[in-house]
C-alpha cells in the first residue's frame, strides 16, 4: 500500500472524491481530540503502523522455517516469540499460532464471527476474507472455496479449517515448493504469498 503521493492530512475539509462517511469519521476524530479522549498523534502513529504492515513479514517467518528446522520448531511452538526473534512485530494479539501444512494436511483460516486476522504479520485482511460468503462457506465447504481459489486437493489430504473465534491469531506455514533447494532465503520469501499464509492457495513456484 503506497502513501507516498500525499500527506495524511486529517483536517476537517471534506475531499469531494470521498463518500459522505469520510467527513463523519474525520469529524469523529476532531471531536474526540477536542474532548481529550485521544490525541492526533496517537491516531497518526497508529496509521503509520497500519501502513507499515505487509505480508513480507509473515513470508520471512515462513522462509526461515523452510531453511532452518530448529527455527521451524520454535515457530510452531510460539509464533509470537519466533517473530520477535527475527526482529518482526507480532502485534497486539496475545498469542499467534503457526499451523504447518504437510503432504497430508492442509490448513485454512477464517473468522466466521467477524474478521480476526494476524494483520501485524500479514497486513490488513483482503476484502474477501471479511466477506459474508467466505465466512459462511469456509467452514461448511472448504474444498469448494479452495477450488474457487484455484486449488484442488487430493482426497487423501486432510483439510483443517480453523475458525479464529477468540484471542488467538493463526498463520499458515505453507509447504515449501519443489525444486527450490538452490534458492536463498530472500528468494524463498518472495514465493510466499499472503493467500498461502491464510491457506486458500499454495505459494508461488520458482520461475
Amino acid at each position: 500500500m503506497s502513501h507516498d503521493a500525499h500527506e495524511h492530512d486529517h483536517s476537517p475539509v471534506t475531499n469531494r472524491d470521498e463518500p459522505p462517511i469520510a467527513a463523519r469519521v474525520r469529524a469523529l476524530e476532531e471531536l474526540l481530540v477536542e474532548k481529550g479522549v485521544i490525541t492526533r498523534e496517537n491516531v497518526r502513529a497508529r496509521i503509520d503502523w497500519l501502513v507499515s504492515r505487509t505480508p513480507a513479514d509473515g513470508a520471512r517467518l515462513v522462509a526461515r522455517a523452510w531453511v532452518d528446522e530448529d527455527f521451524k520448531g520454535r515457530l510452531l511452538a510460539d509464533a509470537r516469540v519466533a517473530a520477535l526473534e527475527l526482529g518482526l512485530d507480532p502485534g497486539e494479539a496475545p498469542q499467534v499460532i503457526a499451523l504447518e501444512n504437510t503432504e497430508n494436511v492442509h490448513h485454512m483460516v477464517v473468522c466466521t464471527l467477524c474478521s480476526c486476522y494476524p494483520k501485524a504479520l500479514l497486513g490488513p485482511p483482503p476484502d474477501w476474507y471479511k466477506s459474508l460468503p467466505y465466512r459462511s462457506r469456509a467452514v461448511s465447504d472448504p474444498r469448494g472455496v479452495l477450488r474457487e481459489f484455484g486449488l484442488t486437493l487430493d482426497d487423501d489430504v486432510e483439510v483443517r479449517v480453523v475458525d479464529s473465534t477468540a484471542d488467538i491469531r493463526y498463520l499458515v506455514v505453507p509447504r515449501r515448493p519443489l525444486r527450490t533447494n538452490s534458492l536463498d532465503e530472500e528468494t524463498l520469501a518472495a514465493l510466499v504469498t499472503r493467500d498461502s499464509m491464510i491457506g486458500v492457495s499454495q505459494p508461488l513456484t520458482p520461475a
Binding site: V161, T165, A166
Partner: protein, 93 residues
Amino acid sequence: MSFAHGEKVRIAPRPHEGHHRTPAYLKGKAGTIERVHDRFLNPETHAYGKDGRPEQRLYLVGFALHDVWPGYGGPRDDRLFADVFEHWLEPES
C-alpha cells in the same frame, strides 16, 4: 471444570442472548480437545463495561466436518477447529 488434550467434549447447546464467541453452528456438536490455551478475559462481560475477570480458559477444539454438517460431501478425515471458552464445554463420555 477443566479439560485435557485428547478429551472428548460437547459444545453446550445453550442459547445466549448478547455478545459471545461460540458460533451457532458448533453449539451441541461433539469434538476433541486439540490444544489447551491460556486464560483470557471473558468477552461476554468485557463487552458490557465489566473488566472481563475472572479470565476463562480457552481451548482449541477439533471436530470432524462430517459431524458438524450432516450433508458434508468431503473426505471423512476433513476437520474443523475453533477456539472455545471453558464454560461452553461439557464432558462427553
